[in-house]
Symmetry: C2
């Protein structure tokens, strides 16, 4: 089974100014295509360190994928290094040059000498044309190993992976069958879940692995089966996955690898119902999650994000006096926010949240992390108080996920 190492190049990764989302995406696509990523290594824009990384990763992998360091600026040293590493000399690639000229003509921008230089490649490589940018990809072969260098700009790298790299690797290497089966649970801790499925886990065949992926009040469980025989691997993975679903039934959100907002979306689509949100402390994040799903306009009509008292009163018809007596973070106010959202947005269901995300803003009886969540339909509202103890970002994300889960349960119980 062919093994892959991913090398990402760039100082920005080592000082933490940028989060490496490229390797996660690459790993996901490679897995789907039947390749196993063994290692992911990030090094800086430093000649010796890139060189050692190339030397080293071929000991672990058959395929070495490299991203970054191909830009037009002086801190990008990957191309000259690869040229030397693979004993080449730089020549202009006609296709790459035409591509650069086309892009600049289309953008109606002046072409700089350094842009034309991007069309230069080592004469020992096979070029992958870049349909979304100016830096070409490069393929090198050395002692049965395949090295492929791609730009670090995410959508350029993705285009090359899809159009050229994955098809090439599938043709060149016999890919193993990898089957992932993922389910999502909510409302149960990792340890308690582990206890529930201990026997199941101990009895798994050695070609199936179980992983726990806890995240914001949810735990995803993933079975991974690897082998040569696609039909047998698929069937065995499915049988074990069916068993697992039975064991965790009471906490199961979905038996697909999809986010909470997608599960809610499918419930709404199936029933032809609509939703809106009335958000205070989450500041639009629940709405953002809902609208991240393509096609959400079929069931999502809108939201009112009401930070100020006035906005809660004017746009969500919350009683001013209630705000003053009970405070914005109260069961009464979130309940009225649900009612106001259903009425003013003319939707079937609404989620409302109001809380104190911190830092600061607490009152003697409402510490940072106090959040009221309510969900409802045209007839009924249920509300729940939460107490979080994390930082602002995490409190916002946790509130959003838990409110979507409350909505999901409410829809299931009231339809």
């Amino acid at each position: 089974m062919a093994k892959v190492s991913i090398i990402t190049i760039g100082d920005e990764l080592l000082i933490g100014q940028v989060i490496d989302t490229n390797s996660a995406w690459m790993a996901q696509e490679l897995n789907k295509a039947g390749f196993v990523v063994r290692r992911r290594l990030a090094v800086g824009d430093v000649w010796d360190e890139i060189w050692s990384a190339l030397d080293e990763e071929q000991a672990y992998a058959d395929i070495i994928l490299i991203t970054g360091g191909l830009g037009p600026t002086a801190d990008d040293i990957t191309k000259p290094l690869l040229c030397k590493y693979f004993n080449g000399k730089l020549i202009v690639d006609a296709g790459a040059k035409e591509n650069v000229l086309n892009i600049f003509t289309r953008l109606n921008r002046p072409i700089l000498e350094r842009n034309v230089k991007q069309a230069e490649v080592p004469d020992t490589c096979t070029v992958i044309q870049n349909k979304r940018g100016t830096a070409p990809g490069m393929i090198f072969y050395k002692e049965n190993k395949t090295f492929i260098s791609m730009p670090g700009v995410p959508h350029e790298m993705k285009g090359m992976m899809e159009d050229a790299v994955i098809p090439l690797l599938q043709e060149k290497y016999q890919a193993a069958t990898i089957v992932h089966k993922t389910l999502l649970t909510a409302g149960v801790g990792e340890s308690f879940l582990a206890e529930m499925i201990q026997d199941f886990e101990n009895n798994l065949p050695d070609y199936i692995k179980l992983a726990y992926l806890p995240n914001y009040g949810m735990v995803r469980l993933r079975l991974t089966a690897i082998g040569k025989d696609p039909a047998m691997i698929e069937q065995s993975a499915q049988e074990h996955f069916d068993d697992l679903q039975k064991i965790v039934k009471q906490y199961l959100v979905t038996n697909l690898d999809e986010p909470m907002e997608k599960v809610v979306a499918k419930l709404l689509l199936a029933s032809g119902k609509t939703i809106g949100t009335a958000e205070s402390c989450t500041g639009g994040y629940i709405s953002h999650l809902i609208t991240s799903i393509a096609g959400s306009s079929a069931y999502y009509k809108g939201s009112v994000i009401a930070y100020a008292y006035d906005a809660k009163a004017n746009l969500l018809s919350v009683d001013q006096q209630l705000l003053e007596t009970k405070g914005a973070v109260s069961e009464e106010v979130v309940t009225q926010m649900v009612r106001g959202a259903i009425q003013n947005l003319d939707v079937d269901y609404a989620i409302a949240v109001s809380g104190i995300m911190g830092p600061g803003g607490e009152t003697p009886d409402k510490p940072v992390g106090t959040v009221w969540i309510a969900v409802g339909n045209r007839e009924k509202t249920v509300a729940q108080k939460m107490q979080f103890r994390f930082d602002r970002q995490r409190n916002i994300q946790l509130t959003a996920i838990l409110s979507l889960n409350m909505m999901r349960k409410f829809i299931l119980e009231n339809s």
Copy 2:
């Protein structure tokens, strides 16, 4: 100067189901404290691969920081491996045990055998108590190298880094002075910027490096100066940074390492003005960015997220007939959305966006990626049409950033 390698352990990182945000945060904190991260390596929950990673990284670094694989479930093999690697045997740590018992008592949850087992550590390590979770951290010393193992749960790892790891490393190793100076530009491409500052870059002393960090219509430029003498390093970095700011002046958004939404926040705070948003295609993402900043309630009052025509008409007072004749994605409609937001939210400034984020939803004259953005105050509105060609997520993020940049310029020009 002490060098650091970061090893992250977990299959979820190699199949791409989770994005590694831990190492970025760690790298950032280490840098601030004067340590240079040389390499970041991710390996799976596989005995041999973790073992080789430990063998290998000590050749590159003095300090090896390890996260992940310490959970209570069977796929977490890091602790037994470290025990063997550093020739220890597992013993119960009294402090860690007390911590586990306290946590479960406080949560009022049953304590499972596997939870108590988390208090076991190799007798060859020094324990770092975990104030936010059950798995203790472990410090090992071997041939002048320091190895520190921490849990992979982000807020537990962060707590240990801040309370114990950084102070320990600063005491044990003489840290170099590292000064970063970062500025943000918008409205100019990376190549064009590089051309502008070519001479500046060529004349930098060898202890200062320049990096380009392009992201969503913006390019950040970062100078990094490293050396022994804090005063000299700071002064030299500042002088070069001053020069750089002069060169890119016309595109400069901020000379601090802060996001666009923070720059807008500071302008509003300084003038005592308020803001709201009227969002269609961004679905609350602009509002989310604004409210990600702690203390945003001082200038942010609320938003109307109006996907449906009805919501645009009812909550933003957009003319129904205009929606039908011009369509929601039009200059006229975003202009009315700004006016409606200012009036209905009672704010000084408003941002409005309406567009087609894809996939799907295009019309013959409005392809996917067509977006109208308008910004304004109580007297005046300006609108601009954009044409993006990316995927849904990227179109949403780009629209949000560009609309905040338009708002920033509008505030500067109209106050």
